[in-house]
């Protein structure tokens, strides 16, 4: 693959990222003139207190949240696809998101009433949710590692992921039946998917964890490329395969859990974006795939965020938008799998 194609792709993605971020700044349920937005960001203020608050405490945090969530889920998908040697793996289809969701549900529903609402004022409530999500995602990953040693078939592992999702959602239903009304309401609204859930105060925790994990993924480029050849070759190349796998799954678990805790269980982005990156670069080389996946993930998530605020009747849930982008791409990949290089 030529360096030129790589450079063009990265530049195009960066331009798209900037354009979409600006669009998300300008468009929203409240019309704010561009000149006022420039004043607010310049620190002068627009003279309209409500506008200042919307831009600084709602739209800018939403843009950062969405971009990081997209990057995080996409890298999770890429790491899962390489680790399990399975092009259709992703954090939602393998049940990692549902596992994180179960952790969130236990925290929200079991402690819901006493927490004072979802992501309430207390620092404790969102940290408890975060820990719940981490434990839930970790649990599913352990189950997947266990099964991947027993069932060698890729398709079977995907089905196990889907079964895990069913199981977690039935546990959530059971919890729902005993939870308080407020807890159930909080849980249901969390489940729609939402990039507006990270407050300015929570941003350092959210962004900090994601950025550290993304850097961690970028440092794994060498073993990721070795894993393209399968475990035996990777071992022969001096890679400690089980340690590498565990590290990759740890990074995946952390990224998926943080995004799921703050934004809800967001489907399709993690599955689809690595394919967009591979097809636009024309390579499976992770040295180029990781940066492109991060950028493309941010772009797709901002696209979803923009679409979600474009309705005149309020915000559209993110999970109503991701399948519209994701399903056609997955179908395209399945239909063309003989033609696409990385399947052969």
């Amino acid at each position: 693959m030529t360096y030129r194609r790589y450079a063009i792709t990265l530049v195009a993605l960066t331009v798209a990222l900037v354009v979409l971020a600006l669009a998300c700044l300008v468009f929203g349920s409240v019309d704010i003139p561009v000149s006022s937005i420039v004043d607010i960001i310049g620190g002068k203020g627009s003279g309209n207190k409500a506008w200042d608050i919307i831009i600084l405490q709602s739209r800018i945090p939403m843009i950062i949240t969405a971009a990081l969530a997209g990057a995080a889920l996409s890298i999770s998908g890429l790491l899962l696809q390489t680790t399990f040697n399975n092009p259709l793996a992703g954090p939602s289809i393998l049940g990692v998101s549902s596992g994180a969701g179960l952790g969130v549900a236990i925290v929200i529903l079991a402690l819901g009433g006493s927490l004072g609402g979802l992501f309430g004022e207390s620092v404790g409530s969102y940290l408890a949710i975060l820990v719940g999500a981490l434990l839930g995602a970790g649990m599913v990953l352990v189950v997947l590692i266990g099964f991947s040693a027993i069932v060698r078939s890729n398709t079977m592992l995907l089905i196990i992921g889907i079964l895990v999702s069913y199981l977690t959602s039935s546990v959530v239903q059971l919890l729902n039946s005993v939870a308080t009304e407020e807890g159930v309401h909080n849980y249901v609204s969390w489940g729609f998917g939402n990039f507006s859930g990270v407050s300015v105060d929570q941003m350092p925790v959210y962004a900090g964890i994601i950025i550290v994990a993304l850097v961690g993924a970028a440092l794994m480029v060498k073993p990721l490329n070795a894993l393209l050849l399968g475990a035996r070759y990777a071992t022969n190349l001096g890679i400690n395969v089980s340690m590498t796998r565990n590290l990759l799954l740890l990074i995946t678990g952390v990224l998926t859990a943080v995004v799921t805790a703050f934004c809800g269980p967001i489907g399709f982005i993690g599955l689809v974006v690595p394919h967009i990156a591979r097809m636009s670069l024309g390579t499976s080389n992770h040295a180029r795939l990781v940066p492109a996946t991060i950028l493309a993930g941010a772009v797709i998530a901002l696209l979803c965020a923009l679409a979600s605020v474009c309705s005149p009747h309020g915000i559209i849930p993110i999970n109503a938008i991701t399948p519209i982008i994701g399903v056609p791409i997955i179908l395209y990949i399945i239909i063309n799998r003989r033609r696409i290089q990385y399947f052969n």
Partner: protein
């Protein structure tokens, strides 16, 4: 007797553990690989060829016994050290279709590169040279997915060459290849042994090719013995008739193959 011995096994036993039971396939193995020699491992299906190779490449622990490379115990080496001694070419499916041949071969440099796997000028030159030696340099910028089976095998051998190991072990390198590619691949391996001084061990079902080109044979007989020796000696000794359980087929020295 073995002047250039680089790889030796001592009282090696291989097999597998099935729950609590241990199934020993082969035992008491004292095998030697020499630099500059091409050795073919032959035996019928289920004889334990792959199991033996997995133990020899340290992919699975032997049931007992030790393996020494250059006088050092293989099991006590770090994985990194091993990766600089033994190069592997297996039949495992790889997901590298969207890599170019150059990128695939460059993966062979991993034991020699740093944490991020960046290649310096010397690495690039070794990658180029390896592709040239394996006869695949003309396809350097092509996708692995676009290669024929024979070309793909050459690319995998080039990858092992880029690893710059004194020993190369190949599990069925000519399986799935047409006859022309089989001969080309075997000739390439012979050249690597004779001209580059590599110790090359391959397992094969291709009896006549192996007998024509291999310097030495390791034969796994039906009574689970491993008979070793030069190809000429073993052909003369009648050992070839101990390879298959089916009594109605016999080795025919004229055609270097089996017939009814």
């Amino acid at each position: 007797m073995h002047d250039n011995a680089i790889y030796t096994t001592h009282d090696l036993a291989v097999g597998y553990r099935n729950g609590k039971n241990t199934v020993t396939l082969l035992h008491g193995l004292n095998l030697t690989l020499e630099s500059g020699k091409l050795v073919a491992l032959l035996g019928q299906n289920g004889a334990g060829k792959s199991t033996l190779l997995r133990a020899l490449t340290c992919d699975e622990k032997p049931l007992s016994g030790t393996i020494q490379v250059d006088g050092k115990n293989l099991a006590e080496m770090s994985q990194k050290e091993r990766s600089r001694l033994i190069g592997l070419v297996s039949t495992d499916r790889i997901q590298a279709g969207a890599l170019t041949v150059r990128e695939l071969v460059a993966l062979g440099r991993q034991p020699h590169t740093g944490f991020l796997g960046r290649l310096d000028d010397e690495d690039h030159e070794i990658v180029r040279q390896s592709m040239e030696d394996a006869g695949i340099i003309g396809k350097a910028e092509d996708y692995v997915a676009s290669l024929s089976d024979g070309e793909r095998q050459k690319a995998m051998i080039a990858r092992a060459l880029a690893q710059q190991t004194p020993i190369i072990i190949l599990d069925e390198p000519t399986a799935f290849l047409d006859v022309a590619s089989r001969i080309e691949t075997m000739r390439l391996l012979q050249t690597l042994a004779h001209d580059r001084g590599k110790a090359v061990l391959l397992s094969s079902h291709d009896i006549s090719q192996s007998l024509m080109l291999a310097d030495e044979l390791w034969l796994i007989t039906t009574d689970r013995q491993v008979i070793t020796g030069t190809t000429t000696d073993l052909l003369a000794s009648g050992a070839m008739d101990r390879l298959f359980t089916n009594r109605s087929i016999h080795f025919n020295p004229q055609i270097l193959d089996y017939s009814f």
